[in-house]
Amino acid sequence: MERFQEVFTNAFPYLMDGLQMTIYIFLIAIVLGFIIGLIVALLRLSPIKILNWIAIWFINAIRGTPFIVQLFFIYFGLNSLAWISFDNVTAGIVTVAINAGAYFAEIIRAGIQSIDKGQTEAARSLGLTSSQTMRHVILPQAFRRMLPTFTNQSIISLKDTSLLSIIGVADLVQRGQVQTAATYAAFEIWFIVGVIYFILIYLLTLLSDFLERRFVLR
């Protein structure tokens, strides 16, 4: 117990730095991912064949390959091209965002399609354009319905950020590795890291529950 306390006081500040990086990457990636998902979902539902096709292939490519391969492709693959260069944090954010974006796209598409077509007809019969109908009538209802699945995907993406340690991003896991090497207290360190992730994800679930209650479908 004494040893645990010692490890805890020594390692904790470093782990907190890592946590900060994890949260920073997660927040930016999830917002970008949501925007990507929304755009891809609208392409997926658009009547224009070629846009449809692009969206379907984007989604299939992401769903059909491991996250780690996507990460290596973007960080090592794209970086090896002469005209492009970015650091590991950027590569990490971009990968998580694109990956989440593909899954969000499917969630958003299903959400949009779950809204009764009478809603669109009522809005269009009032003279709203199709984009006004989407914005004011369909999406607000679809988002509420999507919230639980949306939270699930966000949790998966949060866990995915832990893989960024492999390309040297100083996130929670990478700090854990450094601290383990320094203290040899693997059991204590990884236990603490696990608890921190657990709390973070628990907070996400609470936030989602709160939003769901706040915007309960009437």
Binding site: G118, Q119, S125, L126, R218
Partner: protein, 242 residues
């Protein structure tokens, strides 16, 4: 000129030809009721009048606009054509007032105060001013349908289309909705009403058309059509529903 002209209207869903050759002219301030058996194409006909259904062939002219032409801005035409649905189709995430306000604010870009005063006046007219802050989920069917009527009226339409507005209602709710529609008719609104309420058609309608199998089989003023139907199919239908 007549406010609606339908010439040789045809509508198919894939191989299924639902409207076969519809010709009808509707005058301003007229109340036209459409009756007929299930599946005869009544809703499809109504939905062609504001192009909720793509028109396969023929011509539909609404308030001087040929809505079969791709060049016509259909959104502009729809501003003048209100529609009321059997299933109400209120926006469940918006309050009653917001339902009524949406189109005036987003389509006509009216300022909020002006639009709100008008919306409240309309809700008052349908007897639901005190429900302005409620949500659709908190209303009865009859109240929902009256909100839907107010929502359509908020755009100051010249024409109102009704697709079986009372068919989804409990019997005791039907009267309130019909009363509101009757009031509208008295104020001179041009109305096309698909209905199973023969009493309403008889009392409020200026003219009734009987549809069957994608054709208009018979049309006449209500007393003549109900009292002395000429076609066999009309007689058979009326003997079942009256």
């Amino acid at each position: 000129m007549s406010i609606i002209q339908v010439k040789n209207l045809k509508k198919s869903f894939g191989d299924l030809e639902v409207l076969k050759d519809i010709n009808v002219v509707i005058e301003e301030q007229e109340v036209l009721c459409v009756i007929g058996p299930s599946g005869s194409g009544k809703s499809t006909f109504l939905r062609c009048l504001n192009r909720l259904e793509d028109i396969t062939d023929g011509q539909v002219i609404v308030d001087g606009n040929d809505i079969t032409s791709k060049k016509t801005n259909i959104n502009k035409v729809r501003e003048n054509v209100g529609m009321v649905f059997q299933q109400f189709n209120l926006f469940p995430h918006k309050s009653v007032l917001e339902n009524v306000l949406l189109a005036p604010m987003k389509v006509s870009k009216k300022n909020k105060e002006e639009a709100k005063a008008k919306a409240l006046a309309l809700l008052d007219k349908v007897g639901l001013k005190e429900k302005a802050e409620s949500y659709p989920g908190e209303l009865s069917g009859g109240q929902k349908q009256r909100v839907a009527i107010a929502r359509a009226l908020a755009m100051d339409p010249k024409i109102m289309l009704f697709d079986e507005p009372t068919s989804a209602l409990d019997p005791e709710m039907v009267g309130d909705v019909l009363e509101v529609m009757k009031q509208l008719a008295l104020e001179g609104m041009t109305m096309v009403v698909v209905t199973h309420e023969m009493g309403f058609a008889r009392e409020v309608g200026d003219r009734v058309i009987f549809m069957d199998g994608g054709y208009i089989v018979e049309e006449n003023e209500p007393n003549a059509l109900f009292g002395n139907p000429q076609e066999e199919r009309t007689q058979a239908f009326l003997s079942k529903v009256l």
